[in-house]
Assembly symmetry: C2
Amino acid sequence: MSADVLSAYPASQLAIREVGLRDGLQMTARWPSTPKKLEWVDREAAAGVRYFEVGSFLPADKVPRFADVREVIAGVSRHPGAHGIALALNQRGATDALATGVQEITLVISASEAHNAANVRRTQEQSLAEIANVVRLRDEAGSATIINAGIAMAFGCSLSGAVPEDAVLRMIDRCLEAGVDMVGVADTVGYAGPRQVASLCRRIADRLGPLPYVLHLHDTRGTGIANAAAALDAGCRILDASLAGLGGCPFAPGATGNVVIEDLVFLAETMGFSTGIDLGKLVALRDIPAGEMPGEALFGALAKAGPPRAMSWQAARP
Amino acid sequence: MSADVLSAYPASQLAIREVGLRDGLQMTARWPSTPKKLEWVDREAAAGVRYFEVGSFLPADKVPRFADVREVIAGVSRHPGAHGIALALNQRGATDALATGVQEITLVISASEAHNAANVRRTQEQSLAEIANVVRLRDEAGSATIINAGIAMAFGCSLSGAVPEDAVLRMIDRCLEAGVDMVGVADTVGYAGPRQVASLCRRIADRLGPLPYVLHLHDTRGTGIANAAAALDAGCRILDASLAGLGGCPFAPGATGNVVIEDLVFLAETMGFSTGIDLGKLVALRDIPAGEMPGEALFGALAKAGPPRAMSWQAARP
């Protein structure tokens, strides 16, 4: 059974996915309590966000920040139309994730052989075999969970340097051959510029046709929002971001992290997309990381200035 | 005598202008000492920056932060090929500025009648007459100083809302009729998105042909770098920015300011422009605002992460 990606990500709607509860908490000194994670989901759902990456399936004793992943998945599913996403790093994690009925499982593979080895201690071929096994598990379980292959280092690798577009496209093909329902590409270390993003997005769209793909950008070097704009212009319709830009970069301590979701929503609105997301409610939500994760840097410009006074400021042009 | 804009801004070269010494210091609690301003110019010139907006000609007793504007202009002119820019708000300031031989004087007029009144207590017609008088003064003096009309609120106004593109284009025409050598357009309050920027840039380029124009962006709501990318794609070749994004927004206390010059240089390099600017030296220069302006927020992502380890990371694609 192949999961229905187009139902989960309708072509008519821009999908901005909140990854703060997973990628945003990956490396922080503290993380919100389970009730505060659930409040985060509830309030962000009320603000209009529909997609939540909520945690990783990892041994709870080793990674306590994601020990409550099942509760957060359940918290997302309380909201009609909301879509939960969990990471799994191996078959065992995927089995556990499938048991929850989460809407989507992301498996990570790197476009760079060196980073794949460093990140998951496997060759790319081994990771592809693991992905195929997870798809088989899903099919055997009769599950409708979407299996998504997230391709890390798709715009350059801090270990091996440049990553050719052709290598990313080949990896996309391999993941689809392994049976995944959809793929994503990640600028894991924030190397990309907007022309590079536009170019890869156009080639991916040529390859995939109507099947949407995820773009996971980081703002490590200040290009995150510019890259998102380039992707939107190139037809990308699923973008990851996190509240206050939580997330950081494993290779650059102190660096900025994921694209700031508040700034991304503002950007999209200026570009004519109706995100359906309430910027005021989104900005107010920063009280949760501020309160639960003292000392953690909260990024973002929109939150400091607020939206323009008249949100119809674009209407009169030319 | 009309000043030679094309010599000052060769068509083959992207001009990234450092406005931190003027716009960046406009509202700060403290500002660098004159020796530190001169060190800023010296070190940034050594890093490859050629254009410096250095201050405003205002009564020194009322605006002490710019009392040393003549010394900073002289400091810029010590560097072969460097280009100094000063603001003048009236004929008296312009007369003083012309006496220094500064390469360029910027006069400000607003695309919004309401903001023009609030900012300089004149109607737009009165400001246009003042601009024409300054051009006459320049011509009578036989000066080669470029007169540049900076059009504020060109992408929306915090007082009057939307600003139609046609109104900006009419204001450009009026400024050129008043005799200015070049114009600039400013997103004074950070309302613009990249599609709006691209659209206006294309229309300005259609109007001006080979005559370049300045784009002065603010990052008030996180779109600064995305807007710069859109402008570069639309052929804009003169962009303002400031070290560490110094500058703020007069209508939003605590908001982010000018586009961060370090991030803009990185963006431009990812897009294939050879800026000739050394990112490491630029980042190191942040010690001046950090030391001279304690408590002032320093913005920017590139400075936290550093450039990618291999600056040739883009070379291998596709």
